[in-house]
């Protein structure tokens, strides 16, 4: 699952508060908020100032009109000496017009009427009084407006009316204004936050894509680093799609170029290329950078890789041994002209085997190319080893009877001239050892013939009844001598088949001879024959020393002698079973063994019946 992560790595301090793509949004948001709040505050201040001026002017006018009106009424009422009515009118005006003060004062300062009756200090108004009245005056101090109107009362004297009122704050008080400002500001901020959230969601993708673009222009090529999380919305998905398409296009171009290169390589080689493919040896051409310029089919098999993958690849991906790579480098780039041959033993884990690398330079005017020929020499190595072992074993086997012959010839010459008994004994031994030598040489020759494919089989009638009788006669005395119970079990009638009678007899000789040889005194050896529709089988069962399960196949190898104490006491070339099995297999049959150490063995010889006869 893809995780959301920054497109381009930035210092942590710059990303602590803001997510990718939000810096732009945050900057714009803060600027807009600042301007908005400033404008709002300015507007409010200006509106309040204007309102205050208007309401003050209106208050002055109101007080003036009230003053004039009350002045005329007071003159009339005082002329008519209606003092109580005047006081009632003044008190009513004070309440009605919300006046701070409203009174009528005589020139000597005595108050004859007031909105607040307690402030009247001349209850009984004299009929006449002296003194001049004050002139008309208006004054404003802060919110307070005062008007003084002169009164002329006929036949009584002069007085003046004083009115003062405080300008009301109009519709809003300062507290209301501040509260309103706070509420409007808060609402504005909430609205701004909502707008910011919306913009943030929309602009995050654009911000992320912008950062990815900047990273791409800075040289970032990794697709993973340029991709934007699809959670950012359709813009991010569109950007990712563009990146994916670019990647696919790049891959297609690379693939097309590779194919073109491959095809041009094939076309250039033409028939020569086909000829190289028909070579059983691997052939590789590499340039000075160890890039493979050509590889044939056999090389691909020997390197255990697909040919297309090797073509154009770095050779070090397929050959890791520095002993091989170093001369390749030298041949491709260096001044050397000589060839280098390296035999490389592969790891058993890789299938084993021995490969021979022949490395030589191919000089061209424009560039150096090294040619590597790979040859699989595993089978040759195996054959060489087998041949060496065969020779060593054969020499060893031949030396024993030869040594004996030489020893007894010397004895006969030195001591036998005057002693006929010694001489006769020596000649007997020489005769036996010569016979043994002949058998060994004969077996070796037979094995060699089988291996060389030059082992001729005669086409006789093989009559098993006769062969078994002969074998019984041949080995009876030997079994009796070792007090071995030697029995033959066979159906009354055995088939006659076509084959090499002598060779088949030799194989049965080997099996029965071995059984008697490796069975201790008092044991049992049974030869039983059985026949079915397609084959005849001979089981040679003994109660001898047996063979371990690990050795049941090895005993059929040339010169192999079982690693058993008692087996080592007996003489033998180790060729008999190998030869017997080869002979039987040449007839289409086989020899198998079932055995338990110290319990005995059963060797089974099977032969297909090619032609049945009565």
């Amino acid at each position: 699952m893809r995780t959301e992560r920054p497109v381009v790595k930035k210092p942590a301090s710059r990303q602590r508060l803001l997510m990718r793509g939000e810096r732009l949004v945050a900057f714009v948001g803060i600027m807009v908020a600042g301007v908005f709040l400033s404008a709002m505050a300015g507007s409010l201040w200006w509106a309040l100032q204007a309102q205050r001026r208007v309401s003050q002017a209106a208050n002055v006018e109101k007080v003036r009109v009230i003053g004039e009106s009350l002045a005329r009424t007071a003159e009339t009422l005082l002329t008519a000496n209606e003092v109580s009515t005047l006081r009632a009118v003044i008190a009513e005006a004070g309440v009605k017009y919300n006046l701070d003060s409203c009174r009528i004062v005589l020139p000597n300062g005595q108050v004859i009427a007031d909105a607040d009756p307690l402030r009247i200090n001349l209850l009984k108004v004299p009929s006449r009084w002296s003194g001049a009245a004050e002139t008309y005056a208006e004054s404003s101090a802060g919110k307070k407006t005062s008007v003084r109107c002169p009164l002329v009362i006929q036949r009584r004297g002069q007085a003046h009316l004083e009115i003062s009122a405080t300008t009301a704050s109009g519709l809003l008080t300062d507290l209301e204004a501040q509260s309103g400002l706070g509420v409007i500001g808060a609402l504005s901020l909430i609205a701004l936050l909502l707008v910011y959230r919306h913009c943030r969601v929309r602009l995050r993708a654009i911000g992320a894509v912008r950062q990815a673009l900047l990273a791409a222009s800075a040289g970032e090529k990794a697709l993973g680093a340029l991709e934007v999380s699809p959670k950012f919305g359709p813009e991010a998905a569109a950007w990712n799609r563009i990146l994916t398409e670019k990647k696919e296009l790049t891959e297609q171009i690379v693939l097309a170029r590779a194919k073109e290169s491959l095809q041009s390589g094939h076309a250039a080689s033409g028939e020569v290329g086909a000829a190289c493919d028909a070579l059983p040896h691997g052939l590789i051409l590499v340039d000075a950078n160890k890039r493979v310029k050509y590889v044939n089919g056999a090389a691909a098999v020997l390197l255990q890789a697909q040919r297309d993958k090797i073509m154009g690849a770095d050779l070090t991906e397929f050959i890791h041994d520095e002993r091989i790579l170093e001369p390749i480098q030298r041949a491709a780039a260096g001044p050397t002209h000589k060839r280098t041959i390296i035999e490389h033993e592969r790891d058993a884990s890789a299938g084993g085997g021995v490969l021979r690398y022949v490395i030589r330079p191919v000089r061209r005017e424009d560039s150096g190319v090294a040619m590597i020929i790979i040859e699989d020499i595993t089978q040759q190595r195996v054959a060489e080893k087998a041949r060496n072992e065969f020779l060593a074993q054969a020499a060893h086997e031949l030396r024993t009877p030869l040594s004996n012959i030489r020893l007894y010839v010397e004895t006969a010459l030195e001591e036998g001239l005057n002693d006929p008994a010694t001489q006769a004994k020596c000649f007997n031994v020489i005769n036996e050892e010569s016979g043994r030598l002949e058998r060994i040489v004969s077996d070796i020759l037979s094995v060699s013939e089988v291996e060389a494919g030059a082992f001729d089989l005669k086409n006789d009638d093989v009559r098993f009844q006769e062969i078994l009788s002969q074998l019984q006669a041949d080995y009876g005395p030997q079994a009796k001598e070792k007090r071995i119970e030697f029995t033959f079990q066979s159906p009354p009638k055995l088939p006659v088949m076509h084959g090499d009678r002598d060779k088949i007899t030799l194989a049965l000789h080997n099996l029965i001879g071995n059984a008697l040889k490796y069975t201790p005194e008092g044991g049992q050896v049974t030869v039983s024959a059985s026949v079915d529709q397609s084959q005849i089988a001979f089981d040679v069962t003994d109660t001898g020393i047996g063979v371990s399960s690990e050795e049941t196949e090895k005993i059929f190898e040339k010169f192999y002698r079982a690693h058993n104490g008692r087996a080592a006491c007996e003489t033998g070339s180790g060729l008999g079973l190998a030869l017997a099995r080869e002979v039987v297999r040449l007839h289409g049959g086989d020899i198998t063994v079932q055995s338990e150490p110290n319990q005995g063995s059963t060797f089974t010889l099977t032969l297909p019946i090619i032609q049945e006869a009565a």
Binding site: A278, V301, D376, T378, Q379, V450
Partner: protein, 111 residues
């Protein structure tokens, strides 16, 4: 179908036991190719236990010999019985194989 693989020195001998036909042929092909790759192409096909080959079997044999031909070799076929040999001859693909009488001759051909 049981397929036995036995090592003769450095050479692997593959011995299918049964008719090379139908789905068995496909399984046999997979096993053969695996041994072929592991043994660097040193492989012999012992046909001594293959009584018959059908069209699918023939197709498999041709595919295998084509695969081996890419490394400049031919499929080494040994001990094929008369029926199998006749089928190969009649279908005209016999020449694509190297024929040997027995396993030993086929193995020795790698020397």
């Amino acid at each position: 179908m049981k397929v036995l693989a036995q090592q003769y020195g450095a050479v692997a001998v593959i011995k299918p036991d049964g008719p090379l036909a139908a789905t068995d042929a496909e399984d046999f092909k997979e096993q053969f190719l695996q041994v072929l790759r592991e043994n660097l192409g040193r492989v012999v096909l012992d046909a001594s236990s293959v009584p018959v080959v059908d069209s699918k079997g023939l197709e498999t044999l041709v595919e295998l010999t084509n695969e081996i031909a890419q490394s400049g070799q031919a499929l080494k076929l040994c001990a094929a019985n008369r029926t199998v040999r006749e089928v190969l001859e009649l279908t005209g693909i016999s020449a694509q194989f190297e024929h040997f009488e027995d396993v030993n001759s086929a193995v020795r051909s790698f020397l």
